[in-house]
């Protein structure tokens, strides 16, 4: 096993006091950065680049520090999602859907522990995937041309109905709103600015983080302000129970098939350049809902709804390292930053990286294993500490949330314009919440809409305006079929299933999955 001996060499590189210390530091900082709204993995890594350079670190230690931050942020993002219903970063958005309801039900500790385990499982399998499959998986990335990418994003949108079970029309409206927001900025295919009104700050489009922090965090603050002093005031309500910290085995066991499926799904989503962790967590959640949510418990605090996106986004984080290491092509915003670091450290990324710099690659992969174990060990005992956040009265917590949002967003771009945009999103989010419009599809529309549009136009331009290219390969036809089935199936099968469910309940054969 040549691979395993290379990996062994990697562990020799990674297991020095300095490197373990750096991994620990990176994991801690990453978890905190992930949990704070406004600081995600990509700017978390970017902020630490100067630190790595100032410390005069070599390539391997620098990468170990930065990738620990990357994995750490992937873990940390879920904390604020579950406790506050405010995603710490883009990929953690889907964790809000079931994580927050679980916390409201008094299962905050269980939700945090379960998501920690799910994150570990996703990242663990993705790292093994990186070890064994990186060279082969590169070929998968090469199967995806613009037409295939377009079909993939259509598939993502077709399963969007799975997110909000209550009102499909409102979900569709929200997604359309997100698609509209994605159009803002300079259109790369023509070089023409769209919907910018001559405002130079809008030329690069709307930053996802600004939108997320505004829509989720600020609107939460506004809702609190509105309810303050009325009978809806959450601070006068009964105290939220934290629940046990170690989830019951039955709960973990019920999530094992979910974790296994979403590890694979998330990893593949990560391998495709341009898709990344957000798509990983999103597809994992909506596919899993389609597959196992027979009783419509997703969205109301189903543990599997927490495990699916967390496994998915951590698996995607590992998957995104495949094209970065093996091709030199970033699969996500964070890997783009990591790639820039590689260049600055005198390492040429690209197909020869594994041959030319084996110590860097294998040391990095070994560090990922170490960091992942470290994160699990760090995270489980700290759950008790995290959940204390829920004990803080909202009248103290909410101003802190507002402050962190402002500082975080200003810290990224240093521009007050972004703060104004964030406030506008906050007000918009507040209005939409009043109208019961789900917020998640807005962000998904913005995140995926751009890629969907440019790939459609690339495909059609390359084919000289011939739209049939979109169905021109077996892979596109496969993706389209899944998209269509995923869109229509729930409409037909959903009703039949419900009827059968009711029958089953009557005859008392209903098995209790969770409690």
């Amino acid at each position: 096993m040549e691979l395993l001996s290379s990996l062994g060499d990697g562990f020799l590189v990674a297991l020095t006091f300095q490197n373990i210390g750096l991994a620990l530091l990176g994991c801690l900082l990453g978890t905190i950065m992930g949990a704070l709204p406004g600081l995600g993995p990509s700017n978390g890594v970017a902020i630490l680049i100067p630190l790595a350079f100032t410390l005069g670190l070599d390539a391997t230690p620098a990468l170990i520090l930065l990738t620990s931050v990357y994995y750490g942020a992937m873990y940390g993002g879920r904390i604020s999602s579950i406790l506050l219903n405010i995603p710490g970063d883009e990929p953690a958005m889907m964790t809000c859907l079931d994580g927050y309801p679980m916390a409201r039900k008094g299962q905050a500790g269980e939700a945090l522990a379960l998501s920690g385990i799910a994150s570990f499982v996703g990242a663990f399998f993705a790292t093994w995937g990186l070890v064994f499959l990186a060279p082969q998986l590169v070929k998968v990335a090469l199967l995806f041309g613009p037409a295939e990418y377009f079909a993939l994003f259509v598939l993502a949108f077709a399963t969007l109905g799975g997110i909000s079970s209550t009102n499909q029309a409102k979900a569709a409206f929200a997604a359309a709103l997100g698609l509209g927001l994605a159009m803002i900025g300079v259109d790369t295919q023509t070089g023409v600015p769209r919907f910018t009104f001559g405002e130079v700050h809008l030329y690069d489009g709307i930053d996802f983080l600004v939108a997320i922090v505004g829509l989720f965090a600020l609107s939460e603050v506004f809702i609190f302000l509105e309810h303050r002093g009325t009978d809806k005031d959450s601070s006068t309500g009964p105290k939220v129970q934290i629940g046990r910290i170690i989830p019951p085995w039955s709960m973990v066991r019920s999530c094992i098939p979910t974790m296994a499926r979403t590890s694979v799904l998330g990893f593949i989503a990560g391998v495709l350049p341009g898709a990344g962790a957000s798509l990983g967590s999103f597809i994992s959640y909506s596919m899993e809902k389609r597959l196992v949510d027979r009783e419509n418990t997703f969205g109301t605090g189903d543990p599997r709804g927490v495990a699916a996106p967390e496994t998915g986004n951590n698996a995607a984080a590992g998957g995104a390292l495949v094209p970065m290491l093996a091709l030199g092509v970033p699969g996500s915003g964070t890997t783009a930053v990591l790639l820039a670091v590689l260049l600055a450290l005198n390492i040429t990324p690209g197909p020869l990286l594994f041959t030319n710099n084996p110590d860097v690659v294998w040391g990095l992969i070994a560090a990922l294993f170490i960091g992942n174990v470290m994160l699990l060990v760090l995270n489980i005992p700290m759950i008790g500490l995290f959940t204390r956040v829920l004990m803080v009265p909202p009248r103290i917590l909410m101003p802190i949330v507002a402050m962190i949002s402002f500082v975080g967003i200003y810290g990224i771009s240093g521009s007050t314009f972004d703060l104004v945009v964030m406030i506008l999103f906050g007000i918009g989010g507040w209005v939409l919440r009043k109208l019961d419009v789900p917020l998640v599809p807005i962000i998904l529309g913005t995140l995926l809409g751009n890629e969907m549009e440019v790939n459609l136009r690339r495909a059609v331009t390359i084919a000289d305006g011939d739209y049939s290219v979109l169905f021109g390969s077996p892979l596109t036809i496969g993706l389209w079929s899944i998209a269509i089935i995923g869109f229509i199936m729930p409409m037909v099968a959903g009703k039949m299933l419900k009827r059968r469910m009711q029958l089953a309940k009557k005859t008392g054969e209903d098995t209790d999955l969770v409690d």
């Binding site: 070089g191 020869l352 990224i412």
Partner: protein
Amino acid sequence: MKPNMIFGRAFAAAILATTIIGGPAAAFEPEATECIAPANPGGGWDFTCRQFGKVAQDIGAIPGTMQVVNLSGGGGGVAFAEVVNKRNDSNDLVVAASTATATRLAQKAYPGNTSDQVRWLGSLGADYGVIAVAADSEVETLPELLDMIKQDPRSISIGGGSAVGGWDHLKVLIAANEAGIEDVRSVKYIAFAGGGEAITQLLAGSLQAYTGDLSEAKGFVDSGDIKVIAVLAPERLEGEFSEFPTAIEQGIDAVGANWRGFYAPGGMSDEAYEYWATTIHDVYESDQWKQVMQTNGLAPLDLSGPEFQEYVDASIARIEELSREIGLIK
């Protein structure tokens, strides 16, 4: 920064210059140095600032550590407007720039701002453009590729990492223009989010050719996945890159350099301008910078002060003309 503070600094600097050093006009000494990177950390401009700051400090060309401020947005337009409107008199400030900055200025993509509102300081090297095809492509030379485009523009899709009208696009058009393709708008260019993504699509067979910078393509050339059919440099490059033919030796008079350099606020004093131009030149000459250039695949381009100003003006004029031809500006 308040105006009186700037005045105070300039005053202090003047006293310092006359009393302590007492040297000639170039004896300006900045109190605190600052470099604006008009992009997020990790981008090209960010690295220009950070690497320049590090080398300048190492060789003692600047006092203390250079502060790097990231001011992203609008493809550099946010930083440009900030410098023109709020920092116009600063003597301690330089801003990272590249051919992309010149391209956007030429295309009036910074609303209300023009190139003469700032002073161009100097360059730290250039990344020459390349045109490449997949290793198994039948195309061997640049004229062959351009002939195919001439006969049937629809048969060749060229991908690159910049938006339409951006530098990667313009490089192909410069070559096409020199080869006698009159309607450059017929050249089919597909924009990608980065050079790496475009190369992946070249390997996947979606594209027939790739246009980008040498540094982006290097990894794939080493692995034998793609073959460079032309470097858009005035003469063959040094070292490992010397095997690549230039466009000029194939009879196509096209040069496309993506330079890295700096501009300064328009109201910077002549002494300070002189100081920064000298500093940039000193950094360029240092061994540490030679190392940085080699790492990043940067080729020599040593221009500073008025020479650089002229170079930028000329390249802006050229890009403006080309952009008008393809209908990007009127």
